[in-house]
């Protein structure tokens, strides 16, 4: 578990290039719901992902954040083509792979890899670590110089595991070590894009930092592009150059890290940021805004008309129910910072004159207590 890993420089240095590696346009995934008797008919659809636009440049790390059920994992699975899109277009390095067949996908599969959330269920318990890391090379018929076994040992060392543990089984490793095995497997084919779906959320706090550092090292030194899917805003902020915020199957705001975290415009981004409990290390008084939304995310089977956030939004007006706001650059936003809102917020996260507490119960409770104190 050395902290000083040396990685071979593989590709051109990191940094967003002019031509995006991956472009997603209008990506849509509806899961049909069947019902009725005696003949099952389609009675509705879970609109998990609806017209999502996203780009990932070569060597760039893009964060995808949102609450559970917002479609961020589905988006990741569509991009890796583990799921078949209902509509839209996925372009990878100039090729349209939206509906590519197995054969057409074969050469691209090795370039797009995935790291899964649960290090316990994503490794086959009956295979040794060596077999697990070697199989992608076997499947894709890749014969690295010096043989596959040597490459596996190199990979194990690279992710900070003992190469001698080649013949051990997954159950002999801890959660953090297993996640390292998952990373080694994803690196086995020298990918250009890694989709990491909540790679650290199943790990303990002291182990999370180890894995985040490993991923960051891999990303920066090998120039691999990352789509980093997570609900933990602090980890995403640490890891990503650009961030996209999803709500109920839609991207509501996207921009560079600084724009999203310090100059957010969409009310949902404001609410999300203000809900994250932050460790205040310094003496500075609490000067963050406080927003408490009411209720939960609505069902994606019958999403609200117009803007999907309007049912929980404090700025919602009639227009929000009838017109869906387009994802556009607002007048005083920076280049590349797009927001889908008719009535955007001020670009600051500083405390407001008055807290926004939409939860009627919480509001009443606070007023009561304020009265008695």
């Amino acid at each position: 578990m050395s902290d000083n890993l040396t990685l071979p420089a593989q590709q051109s240095p990191a940094g967003a290039s002019a031509e995006p590696l991956l472009t997603v346009e209008g990506l849509t995934k509806h899961f049909p719901i069947y019902g009725g008797f005696p003949i099952k008919r389609k009675v509705g659809a879970v609109q998990a992902v609806d017209k999502v636009d996203l780009t990932v440049g070569a060597g760039e790390s893009v964060g995808l954040v949102g609450e559970s059920g917002c479609g961020k994992s589905t988006t990741g699975r569509l991009i890796t083509r583990l799921l078949e899109p209902t509509g839209g277009k996925i372009t990878y390095a100039g090729h349209d792979i939206t509906h590519a067949s197995r054969r057409e996908l074969a050469p691209i599969r090795s370039e797009i890899q995935m790291i899964f959330q649960d290090p316990y269920s994503s490794l086959n318990p009956r295979q040794t670590v060596g077999t697990i890391i070697r199989s992608p090379m076997e499947v894709n018929g890749i014969e690295p110089a010096g043989g596959r076994e040597k490459r596996v040992r190199e990979l194990l060392e690279l992710v900070g595991l003992n190469p001698e543990h080649y013949n051990r089984f997954p159950h002999e490793f801890s959660g953090g070590q297993r996640q390292r095995i998952g990373v080694a497997r994803a690196l086995a084919l020298q990918p250009k894009l890694i989709v990491a779906d909540e790679p650290v959320s199943a790990l303990d706090v002291s182990i999370q930092a180890q894995v985040v550092n490993l991923l960051q090292k891999v990303q920066q030194e090998m120039g691999i592009a990352f789509l980093f899917i997570a609900h933990d805003l602090a980890v995403v902020r640490h890891f990503s150059q650009r961030v996209a915020v999803m709500y109920l199957g839609k991207v509501v705001e996207v921009g560079d890290r600084d724009s999203i975290y310090n100059r957010p415009r969409h009310p949902y981004t404001h609410a999300l940021l203000s809900a994250v409990p932050e460790v205040a290390v310094d003496d500075e008084p609490e000067d963050r805004e406080r927003i408490r939304l009411a209720g939960d995310v609505p069902s994606p089977i019958m999403p609200p008309s117009g803007c999907r956030f309007r049912t929980r939004c404090w700025k919602a007006q009639d227009k929000c129910a009838t017109e869906e706001p387009p994802l556009v650059r607002l007048s005083d936003s920076r280049e590349g910072h797009l927001t889908a809102c008719h009535f955007p917020e001020e670009p600051t996260t500083e405390a407001r004159d008055e807290d926004i507490v939409l939860d009627p119960g919480l509001k009443a409770l606070e007023d009561e207590n304020a009265g008695t104190d």
Partner: protein, 327 residues
Amino acid sequence: MLLEVRDLHVEFRTRDGVAKAVNGVSYGVDAGETLAVLGESGSGKSVTAQTIMGILDTPPGKVTGGQILFEGRDLLTLKEEERRKVRGAGMAMIFQDALSSLNPVLTVGDQLGEMFTVHRGMSRKDARAKAVELMDRVRIPGARERVRQYPHQFSGGMRQRIMIAMAIALEPRLVIADEPTTALDVTVQAQVMDLLAELRREYRMGLILITHDLGVVADVADRIAVMYAGRIVETAPVHDIYKAPAHPYTRGLLDSIPRLDQKGRQLYAIKGLPPSLTRIPPGCAFHPRCPMARDVCRTDVPPLYEVTDAPSERGSACHFWRECLHG
């Protein structure tokens, strides 16, 4: 002091040997105070709470020493029947996973009402009315109609509110919340934490908040106790601990959180893994992972030293707490 845990020891008999889950934990909570118990999985934070509640599985678990004084009475010497009376009316617990803690085949009204029929001997009708009142109190919209619904008809945040309602039903003096918001989304988590904090103020309950999330703790707790390998390694008022930790483990945890002012840089990572509870290292259990470890750490178990340099009441189980505090 409302609750005082003194030198508690709990063991589990497992196939790999005896797992020492809790090794001499002492802490206390006053009425109206919030104590946060912070630790990673396997640190013994939940086992301590289960022992206080008297819901520890025995066997394999076994309390091998210590006292749990609740309003002056040692709970560990009480008969099971008497302890049951303390549970519910005296102290209550909120669990992490509300869905599996609620009975799926009973309506939430029945489950809330049960508190009153069992403990207070109320009629079913009166209990039902009480259930509606409770659901109103935790601000579940449309309580009168929803009281007849089953747990699966509620969302995650609403279910956790029902758990909270059940816990506060008999107005206990102490509530133990074991990772109450870990399974919830951030926006819902914020609602639930605020609700809990407000209810605690309203009823002047003592609250023990068990969590692994340093952020959640910072917002609501008065005092904090950090646990590692079944021991308390540091205890202090919340703000002091964040400003200047007096134990290298606490310091490591704080440094490993991604922060705004350090974006892009490498995170500090505590090396290695938490120890197995069947083979806790001799001396200070943290020494194999500690950047400050010296010979004495490998042999002598550090007691919880009083941190005398600090203006407030603090303790640290590190031989070199002074160095850690000032360095």
